[in-house]
């Protein structure tokens, strides 16, 4: 097995916010009937997470489940655990209509951090999503686009947001965030 390397090798930069790649993150796409208690039980048996509410995040001891669509979850775990989670989920969900796939190395994860409304300022320039705190609160997953590419964004707190995008556009998203947070380019919208 070759050595795992994240999309932009942990690059980071500082403008009016700090932009950093999160490095290696375990991510597993799980699809199935979220309204089925057998599905919920199978997922819980492996992740020890309940199912998240619509657009929400459910956290267990070490894993997190992000709501991605009415029939899709994203499991976030340690990178080295992802393959074991796939095996365990596949076994737990056998007999049910489902899909489980390790997407850890097909995604890039970024963290944008800063004080005040700086994080929302930097992000709002590159997404059409309404980022006002009363519309997109902390802990809510919003799938949208960042400039020209799809991304899922979530504010972990007012001072930090996490962005998940396709690995193939990792450099693009990193450059985009760096440019968006260039000192002196604050819009002052929030």
């Amino acid at each position: 097995m070759s050595e795992a390397v994240s999309a932009v090798q942990g690059a980071s930069a500082s403008g009016f916010v700090d932009v950093a790649e999160a490095g290696l993150v375990g991510m597993v796409t799980i699809r199935g009937d979220l309204g089925d208690s057998d599905f919920a039980h199978a997922v819980w048996s492996v992740t020890h997470c309940g199912l998240p509410k619509k657009r929400g995040i459910a956290a267990g001891e070490s894993d997190q489940l992000l709501w991605m669509s009415p029939d899709e979850l994203l499991l976030v775990c340690a990178h080295e655990e992802a393959e074991a989670r796939v095996q365990a989920l596949s076994a737990a969900l056998s007999g049910q209509h489902h899909l489980v796939v390790n997407v850890s190395d097909a995604r890039a994860v970024f963290r944008v951090s800063g004080s005040g409304s700086a994080v929302r300022e930097a992000m709002a320039k590159v997404t059409p999503a309404d980022l006002r705190p009363r519309i997109l609160g902390v802990g809510e997953v919003r799938r949208t686009r960042m400039a020209q590419v799809p991304a899922a964004i979530c504010f972990d707190g007012e001072d930090q947001a996490t962005i998940v995008c396709f690995r193939s556009v990792g450099t693009y998203v990193f450059d985009l965030l760096v440019r968006s947070s260039k000192p002196g380019s604050e819009v002052g919208h929030f």
Binding site: K54, R55, S69, I135, R142, T144, P150
Partner: protein, 109 residues
Amino acid sequence: MLILKCPYCGVACDETELHAGGEAHLTRHGPGSSDADFEEYLFMRENPRGVHFERWRHVYGCGKWFHAARDTATLEVFGTYSAQVAEPPKDVRAAITAKVPGWRWRDLS
């Protein structure tokens, strides 16, 4: 700018997060149908100035198809609703009637 609420995610989506899917509630006429029905299905589309029903896909989000009822002249949105229906639900039709009394679209009113 057109903003549509995805009935599956519940988020207000900018039109650039969506993909337009053309006219809603078409009846598919395939192999074995009459030439007239097949032509109607393939080519004949409404192009109203006013109330219209369309299909949209939340392509930068959940990926689901849904329906929207809107006014093509004012961009006012009367409602969005599930893709799994063959005609607009009562509440959407009532919302249109409240704003545009006497509206007609194909054989709906």
